[in-house]
Symmetry: C2
Subunit: 380 residues, 2 copies
């Protein structure tokens, strides 16, 4: 079932062997199996306790194996950012897929309609009447396609711009016999990473007030949504408290990159989620005082949120600096020699995962599995 990756050819024989983590060719994307399993269970438990539907976002992991773990713990399905991501997961048997971005071109809509015929449950957002009409034409002759009204929370990325437009678009969806009106989506992307919890809460409260205005308009028009989907790892505690969303699209909680680890998520300061995603790199040169060069650079980490953190192998105060496409400098007073391993945390998990073909699933010092990044690069 798994795609054959270079890492499986190189490392397949190491699975289950003591000390195998230290024999991986580097740089290697590492998933800490126990921390990951605890993260999955904790969010599933959180959603259950608060009566929320859980539909985690696959754009973070792009992995059929991780999707299966989330489904096994109680998720109803997965969100996907792109059609190619949904196609790749569907090909691995993942169902219950919700596309969180509009698909608008004729070839894209044709692919979407074909995918809707291959799996049991597929939904998508729309934010424009012409696109709704095109979806309706494409869905004719197949099962009804479920369409959500995407409401812009003010960041102007996608979504309709007012309660009136939300009502008009919902009605347009509901009026097409080949479509099913699924509800609304409201994703406060810009607010997820506000570092201070109180500030983040105030921003989400203000935006949720606007969402409530939209929902009231829909209800008054007899278009009350069955599902209100949205939220992220940064807002999930606030979303549960406010009780307006009915479904959570959380993604990064399974990994906890540096960005989110720097956030107080508001669950009593208990830091409910653990860093589970790492990169193991190797020292390839050590000829300068106070600096060693590792084999992980711009092609090993997303660079949009600064450098990765050094978690093990180079002393407490060591710092990383990008040194071109293939290399990084590790700078500090207590550095290892050539051939040593240094473990780093990811600065921003989603685009970092997208650089790799496989997760190396680790328990202690043992490689326990190699999981392909099923939908890597499927941006179209």
């Amino acid at each position: 079932m798994h795609r054959d990756t270079a890492s499986q050819r190189l490392h397949g024989d190491l699975i289950g062997q003591p000390g195998s983590r230290d024999r991986l060719n580097t740089p290697a994307l590492i998933l800490d199996a126990d921390a990951f399993a605890r993260n999955v269970a904790r969010m599933a438990d959180f959603a259950r306790r608060h009566g929320l539907i859980l539909r985690p976002h696959a754009k973070s992991h792009k992995s059929a194996d991780i999707a299966r773990a989330q489904l096994a713990s109680g998720a109803v399905g997965l969100c996907c950012a792109k059609l190619g991501e949904a196609e790749a997961l569907a090909a691995e048997g993942i169902d219950g897929l919700h596309l969180t971005s509009p698909v608008v071109t004729p070839p894209g809509i044709a692919r979407l309609a074909a995918l809707a015929r291959r799996i049991a449950a597929l939904s998508i957002v729309a934010d424009h009447p012409d696109v709704v009409d095109a979806l309706a034409v494409a869905a004719q002759g197949g099962p009804p396609l479920t369409v959500f009204v995407d409401i812009d929370p003010g960041i102007h990325r996608t979504g309709v711009a007012s309660p009136q437009e939300a009502v008009a678009l919902a009605r347009r969806i509901a009026d097409h016999p080949s479509l099913r009106y699924g509800g609304v989506q409201f994703y406060c992307g810009a607010q997820q990473h506000i570092q201070d919890f109180a500030e983040r809460r105030a921003a989400i409260v203000e935006r949720t007030d606007y969402l409530s205005t939209c929902l009231a308009a829909l209800t008054a028009a007899d278009l009350a949504p069955a599902i209100v989907t949205g939220g992220g790892t940064g807002s999930h505690v606030i979303d549960a408290e406010l009780g307006v969303l009915t479904e959570l699209q959380v993604g990064s909680y399974i990994f906890m990159d540096r960005e989110y680890s720097d956030c107080d998520l508001g669950d009593g300061g208990a830091k409910p989620f653990e860093t589970a995603l790492l990169v193991d790199a190797g020292v390839i040169s050590a000829n300068a005082p106070g600096l060693v060069t590792i084999d992980a650079g711009l092609k090993a980490f997303a660079t949009d949120t600064g450098p990765p953190a050094i978690l093990a192998g180079a002393g407490e105060s060591a710092r990383y600096r990008f040194m071109g496409d293939e290399h990084g400098a590790v700078i500090g007073p207590d550095l290892p020699g050539i051939g040593a391993r240094i473990t780093l945390g990811t600065p921003h998990c989603d685009p970092t995962v997208n650089l790799y073909d496989a997760y190396h699933v680790i328990r202690g010092d043992v490689l326990t599995a190699i999981w392909p990044v099923t939908a890597r690069g499927r941006s179209a």
Copy 2:
């Protein structure tokens, strides 16, 4: 021979059809076939005119098809940054490979020795005596492995730190019967992107003086290098003028990203190379005044050198802003509507190519071929 990519499944039927470029699912990595061919021919001609060996760097393109075009125009082989890159190209029949970074771990050295037995010509750099000894042990029983002394040009990434160490390492290589002393490598990575030509020239002249000191020490020790390899697109005119390097490792000239297009390369201001690498994106939302959202974000462009340039489809003054993992904002007074296409230039070509599985080779408005990014993600 070609790896089956999602794009080949989606777009294979479009090859050769009029207007097929506009029917590609987006975002799509685009290679302008004619501009690319002219770039390849011009650098080959430049190297011939100056009596320089041409061994272009495959880390920029990671493509067996592009490697074949470069070999056909007179390149003697290809440089690779990582072992996995070399393995992937070798599996497609590309030979004459030079590894520009040290390989130092036992599993890496074992893979290197195995690769040396599979192809006709393989060389690698080293910058530490212990690694030279380990390479010698691994090469025993096979053909001699060619090893270059990597000399640090002062950026402290890789390379020996002094002329004395260069001599000692060259001697160590020459003394091992299982190794062959290939010469030296000297790559001024930090100097390639100095925007002003005179400043760049002064920096390269100063560093080449240091290289000449190293070469004099080697010659005095009867270890004069047969090959002095290095240089890049930013320095090739200066390198040819100075006449110390004998082999060029240029990479980006085939694509000309925004970084290099902003540089005066010094060939009489004639701008000898053209932008050949593009990304076609699609407008998926257009609900805010003065802003449309396209389907290309942090997973579609490397972010280490700022935003991509907008080249076509959105008016002269349009600007791009990253809007998360999957989306970008295009801002301007004259924007297209939903479903329209916008063409962007890449900010930094190497790590952008590494995000995609395939090049869409275009002549005019026709898709003429789909070339896999053969070594995509092969960072280990």
